[in-house]
Amino acid sequence: MIRTDLAIIGAGPAGMSAAVAAREAGLDVIVVDEQPAAGGQIWRAIERNARLRPGNLAFLGEDYVKGAELAARFAASGAQHWPGSTVWHVESPEDGDKTVTLAWDGATRQVRCGALLIASGAMERPVPVPGWTLPGVMTVGAAQTVLKSSGLFPEAPLLLAGSGPLLLLFAAQCLAAGIEIAAVLDTTPAGARLRGLPHLPKALLGWRTLLKGRRLMRTLSRSGVRIYREVTKIEALGAEHLERVRFQSVGGPAELETASLLLHEGVVPNPQLTRLLRCEHRWDRAQRCFRPELSDRGETSVENVFVAGDGGGIGGAMAAVHAGRIAALEVAERFGAVNRPNGDVEIVKARDALRAELAVRPLLDAMFPPPRWIGELDGGEVICRCEEVTAADVRKAAALGAPGPNQAKAFLRAGMGPCQGRMCGLTVTEILADAHGKHPEEIGYYRIRPPIKPVTLGELAALDGAD
């Protein structure tokens, strides 16, 4: 087993920035990530595009191009980077080192570390509309991922449905790349923009983000793409695969033929690792999701386990960069790293930058409020894709006395498939909260156990032999 001062899970903006800062301070650093290259979600395949497909940079936009600089500093930092490594277990004994266990190319590897930084980022909120399991339906982020990594786009006619900055950004990237969008089904409720107004003064600190947002909205509304407003009750229809989409909008009911439907209702922290470590979590009302409780240095309720970036609550890429730096400087301080001139001053500077970056969030949360209908589901909608459990099944389990997700899981097997509840966890919490008339925090979340990813027999056997 290899030992290092700081192990970082995730080579996105938060993880790369933390690695650079920790290396500058003289710490030994190992960064693991299941992607084939550094960059995280926002800067996926940045290095490949810059080298091989510079034409793609033009439509991916300036915020994407910006990633090249941090990726280069990360590559030169001297941190060990293990791409293609999926973490499936993390242990944190009360005293002593933490252990990270991962699968890499069919083998198992373990890393011991004094401090652990979880920079595993966000995932898109699952959007359990009827028919969302049909081939042809994917998320906006999924389509954006293959656009970045392979220059691929969904077959026409293409519909984008949902709400949030990522949807607007992807629409703008499509238009710039010449990819045709048949229509946008905007699910943002009426009046959301106005509800955002009280947050405007504070948000001015993050004015750059604001200007960008306005530009994106204007690009879309001037593009001539058909936009349906205040859309609800989206249904994906088809026999073997997606053929049509039905919905309600201000203009009344509508039905469109389509080959590709992309869903998006914002992003939420990926909860697996912090849940596995039994870190304390709080329900975030504005973003309707759980987030780990963090100190002002990014430490969780588990000593020497830190979280930086969107895994700790959604703040965006630049906030992730600052938070990663803060956590790394704090670890350096704690472990008596050699090079740390002005460690405290640096932390204060990074905290100010983080605060300015986060100032715009309340406005964004108010302008793109997370969907309320998910907690109200009670019909035949599949909510657990792995075990094909419906919303009605969850209601039935609640009526039979299941107080929380873990009992519902025992009744229904929801959350016991390969995704381990990533796709149904939030929905089950919301439905149970609604059924019992309780706060989601009282309802809680699935108890997550290892392995958090399917492990092959070969990989398990390799673990026995690990020294």
Partner: protein
């Protein structure tokens, strides 16, 4: 299914899906390459047998599980294509640890 923009340079890679040759570009994930080659369905669910396709493309939904070179439960969206790779649809549950790795309490 997916289409490719013009001017996407990269080395060609050929692998097999259900025994048939598939052409991809180096750097494609197996999931992206299969959708680009016109395959809509990558796996069948254990319970109802319904056909599924990649949903998240970032490793969280597990709808892209396939068998690669005889090893089941591989996430096609996290695996880059390699020349000569043999990929098959995953039909039902492969019954490996990891699936049953978590019992409720």
């Amino acid at each position: 299914m997916l289409r490719r923009l013009p001017d996407q340079s990269g080395r060609k890679v050929r692998f097999r899906f259900e025994g048939e040759p598939v052409d991809a570009l180096e750097g494609d994930s197996v999931a992206a390459a299969l959708l680009a080659a016109g395959n809509r369905i990558l796996r069948m669910t254990p319970k109802s047998g319904s056909g599924r396709a990649p949903y998240c493309m970032m490793g969280v939904c597990f709808e892209c599980l396939v068998e690669i070179d005889g090893i089941p439960n591989r996430q096609a969206c996290l695996t880059e294509v390699r020349g000569g790779m043999a990929v098959r649809r995953q039909r039902g549950a492969p019954g490996l640890p990891g699936e049953a790795g978590d019992d409720p309490d």
